[in-house]
Amino acid sequence: MELEVHTTRLDALVSWARQHSLDQYPFLSACCGVEFMATVGHGSSRFGFALPKASPRQSDLLVVVGTITERQAPALRRVYEQMGDPKWVIAFGACACSGGLYQNYAVLPGADQVIPVDVYVPGCPPRPEQFLAALKQLRLQIENQARGRPPAIPSLSANPQTLVRIRPSKSTKPNKAGAKGGGK
């Protein structure tokens, strides 16, 4: 049997391993939770994300899904504190990002008021594809962290792959590329 040898830096190896074995703990609270469940159907396991873990102690990615009220904030903080290091947080949905529609006495204006957030996913609620985009974004950040780069967020225009088509338009207007390709 042939033996293959690969060499790399240890931190790169660790980062690679972390990127591909994120165990998520979803903190479901509201509408977004219903939509978040649908991400299961979009095959997130192919990116190395297994089914949600039932305990924060076994997971390293906290997904804050839905509105966090002032009353829930201590519970969210506690869940975060129970997770082992290193840990990452995705805020899923407008409410988790900023309070969304609810700018009032009851609602926390964003989960980042009580825990640090790495990736924000806007939308009310976001589509499942956006969660996958967020996961890819998070992996990029983990990799950048390992290489000592700042976890900069690349602009969407610079990286068209991160754009998710929201809705296939019914009346497709021929765009430039389509006109070229479509004209025989």
Binding site: F27, L28, S29, A30, C31, G33, V34, E35, M37, A38, G41, P52, A54, P56, G66, T67, T69, R71, Q72, P74, A75, L76, R77, R78, V79, L101, Y102, N104, Y105, A106, V107, C124, P125, R127, R167, K170
Partner: protein, 412 residues
């Protein structure tokens, strides 16, 4: 840092316990708020002795988002968006209930075009189906029957695809408008529905085989959390939970709206009022809802899908460009929102969980003086505590699921 942490710990301590006084060999047990089924919106504090529950305190309000306060400071039409997020498992039902209340406040319920009413019936029943699918699915999952859960979620995903094509977003599809619906059906929608409905029947049948014929499922649900018929009304319980206990109440039959009186459907009733009855009732209501939706699709009237009333609906584009009144109406609608003459209304619809009532009071301005939601989940949740006392810890979650307490609606 240490100081701040200390303060947090102290605060958290207060969060964890308002436990009943533990005596002898009893133990305090807290379920939630971070729980796969309670979904962060409820917290159940139990006092258990071995497996048996001695005392229960159901704590709701973790998802209190200030709906009523928001509604009192928003224009009537924008509140529709918040109403969709009340019961997020069946958003269109909540929105339809709110829209109906505003229409009744304006006194234009009779003017809503027939096609709009029929379309509302279709989407309301589809939403009810989505809600019941979720309810039964979550129950199945909480009892370990994940195969049934995935079947039901798959059916719901197909249903959402149908609703998505109506107005865009998957969840909280903004299809209901004050005075009618957003737009007419897309061209291939009815065909899509016709392929969907036999598939759903098939799924319901299969799930019934998987769960209903399963002796373990029966054992786990029969005789659990029996809600006696005479207690139902006093608790303010309505909808499927009330009907499972044998109380005949259904707003669709009692105070028909959207032309429900034109359709044939049965209101199933249970006789014991245990979890098994509640499960059976939801499964039967799935079939009945599908029956109503099919009838409504078959009897779609022709005509407009939204009322012609410049108080709540912007005039047509051609008018807006040529007539000053149309542009004036549009401007005021878009900036101040609909202005509704002084009055009050209490209007209820049959949501997936029971009587969803809206009490609206207008003082003649563009904001409601009061927008009260009578939420069925809240009344249901109130009865949960006394009902669970004496049962096993393992029965808490299935019962909670079958009562279908949706955080957004319960806590508003």
């Amino acid at each position: 840092m240490t100081k701040a942490r200390g303060a947090n710990v102290q605060r958290n301590q207060r969060l964890v316990m308002d436990l009943p006084e533990a005596a002898g060999d009893s133990l305090g047990l807290v379920l939630g708020p971070s729980h796969p089924v309670l979904r962060g919106s409820a917290r159940i504090v139990l006092e258990v002795e071995g497996e048996a529950i001695r005392a229960v305190d159901v704590q709701v309000g973790l998802l209190h988002r200030g709906f009523e306060k928001e509604a009192e400071s928003s224009p009537y039409d924008q509140t529709l968006l918040l109403a969709e997020r009340l019961n997020y498992v069946s958003p269109l039902l909540s929105a339809a209930g709110y829209a109906l209340a505003v229409e009744r406040l304006l006194g234009i319920e009779e003017n809503i075009p027939m096609r709009a009413r029929r379309l509302r019936v279709v989407v309301c029943e589809l939403s009810r189906i989505a809600d019941h699918l979720t309810c039964v699915g979550a129950t199945a999952l909480s009892l370990g029957a994940s195969n049934a859960f995935f079947l039901l979620m798959d059916a719901r995903a197909r249903l959402w695809r149908l609703l998505e094509s109506l107005a865009g977003p998957r969840l909280g599809s903004p299809y209901i408008r004050l005075g009618g619906v957003n737009s007419d059906l897309p061209d291939d929608w009815i065909a899509g529905f016709r392929t969907f409905s036999p598939g759903l029947r098939q799924t319901v049948w299969r799930v019934d085989q998987l769960l209903g014929e399963n002796p373990m499922f029966r054992e786990r649900t029969r005789g659990v959390a029996i809600l006696a018929k005479q207690d139902v009304q006093g608790w303010g319980i309505t909808g499927p939970v009330a009907r499972a206990s044998g109380v005949l109440c259904d707003v669709r039959k009692d105070n028909p709206y959207f032309g429900y009186e034109d359709f044939e459907f049965d209101v199933p009733l249970g006789d014991v009022g245990d979890n098994w009855d509640r499960y059976c009732l939801r499964m039967e209501e799935l079939r009945q809802s599908l029956r109503i939706a099919e009838q409504a699709i078959g009897r779609l009237a022709t005509g407009p899908v939204i009322v012609d009333d410049p108080r709540i609906v912007p005039p047509a584009v051609e008018l807006r460009q040529t007539q000053v009144w149309a542009q004036a109406s549009l401007f005021l609608l878009a900036t101040a929102g609909p202005i509704i003459h002084p009055g009050e209304v209490y209007s209820a619809v049959e949501s997936a969980n029971g009587e969803l009532g809206f009490y609206l009071a207008s003082d003649g301005s563009a904001r409601p003086k009061k927008c009260r939601v009578r939420s069925p989940s809240f009344a249901n949740a109130a009865a949960l505590g006394p009902l669970l006392t004496g049962h096993f810890v393992a029965d808490v979650i299935p019962t909670y699921c079958l009562f279908n307490i949706v955080g957004g609606e319960c806590d508003r």
